[in-house]
Symmetry: C2
Subunit: 228 residues, 2 copies
């Protein structure tokens, strides 16, 4: 997927603070993660860009578009939900689950169907293709901070539940699996209802890894969106 | 839109019984409308086809895929909802409204935004382009039967509300406006949740005429879907 994007535009894969090959400490809040991303971009003198954010990354993307609106041209939100969305406090998710990527991929990124499991195996094989400069696995400490951040993001505020979204004016593409067991699909619908300029695409028989399962058509949809 | 589809495949625009240039009587039930469509296809020896259905046409398309599954390859459902969907009994809709197409287009097919109203005007101008073989306006009698049919389709059954949908296995593209005032957008989400192989696309700032407002990208999405 990265290669396909990179064929037509410059792609920067950011290991945010404390994640993968980046040093530093992972903050336990989405706004602080967005700030780290902004500091990174400013250090590289990147003033305006499109952002693709998956899951927690999609929460960071929303925060970027909201708080640093001049920096973000368009955004693609993959398998994510709004602040205070439906069932997004992840009370059943344990740190052990986040720390076992292959088990997480098989159980939460793909559905039980034969087609989806086969797409999952193909995805896991693709992940092995890079032989050099591989990222370090996420540390339990970073995973803990990430879990804390998504739980805070997912907590329902007492008033003005989706107040942030009408103030995000960037053109947005929302992509979700119709059977996402991790971030319930209704969250993608809620984003599309409350963001002023968002197109929603939802793929069948797909869970949290919808964009990887339907990679070919997703890349077509993303290209139409970014070039349109 | 028809021309764009017709550039790559044969397109048949069906005036169903009692509608437009077709004689006969419009039946007040979706299954009878589907049967009329099937009779038409059989008379032309069309055994397998893709169906694009808009609004009531999308209800007929679902009935076709459900009841005559060998005949339907794929279907595109535009601005429609499932049998017994949300807010689909159209209690506030009067026959007078259905009988005044231009007022209906301006108020229900496009949103109040400047962009959407401009798209609406462009759409109304496009509708005038055909100079010969124009369809007759829908008669009040036919409109009354259509209204009866959509109200019956929209009535919520006492049990097994969406039982029809898991039994429709055709690959489906659902297209809807995120601000559809005629068929509430949640119905498109419900179709995507319950149909086994349906992709959902929802366009921003668009009402019941979403596919006309976003015609360019819709045609790209439809082509990817039909050829994929």
């Amino acid at each position: 997927m990265t290669n396909a994007f990179a064929a037509e535009r410059e792609v920067i894969l950011l290991d945010n603070a404390g994640v993968g090959s980046s040093t530093g400490e992972t903050p336990p809040m989405v706004p602080a993660m967005a700030k780290d991303c902004v500091d990174f971009c400013r250090a590289l003198n990147i003033r305006n860009f499109d952002v693709v954010g998956f899951s927690l990354g999609g929460m960071i993307a929303q925060q970027l578009a909201f708080e640093y609106q001049d920096m973000i041209r368009r955004m693609i939100l993959l398998g994510t939900g709004p602040r205070g969305g439906e069932g997004m406090t992840f009370t059943e998710l344990s740190l052990d689950e986040l720390g076992d990527p292959v088990a997480l991929l098989t159980s939460a990124f793909f559905t039980a169907s034969r087609t989806s499991q086969a797409a999952g195996q193909a995805y896991i094989e693709r992940l092995k293709l890079r032989l050099t400069d591989r990222d370090a696995s996420v540390s339990m400490k970073a995973a803990g901070a990430q879990l804390e951040a998504i739980r805070e993001w997912g907590s329902i505020p007492s008033t003005d539940r989706y107040a942030m979204l009408p103030r995000i004016h960037q053109r947005t593409l929302i992509v979700h699996g119709s059977k996402d067991v991790f971030v319930a699909p209704i969250n993608a619908f809620l984003l599309a209802q409350h963001l002023p300029d968002a197109q929603l695409v939802m793929y069948p028989d797909a869970s949290h890894g919808a964009q990887s399962q339907h990679a070919k058509v997703f890349l077509e949809h993303a290209r139409l969106f970014l070039d349109g």
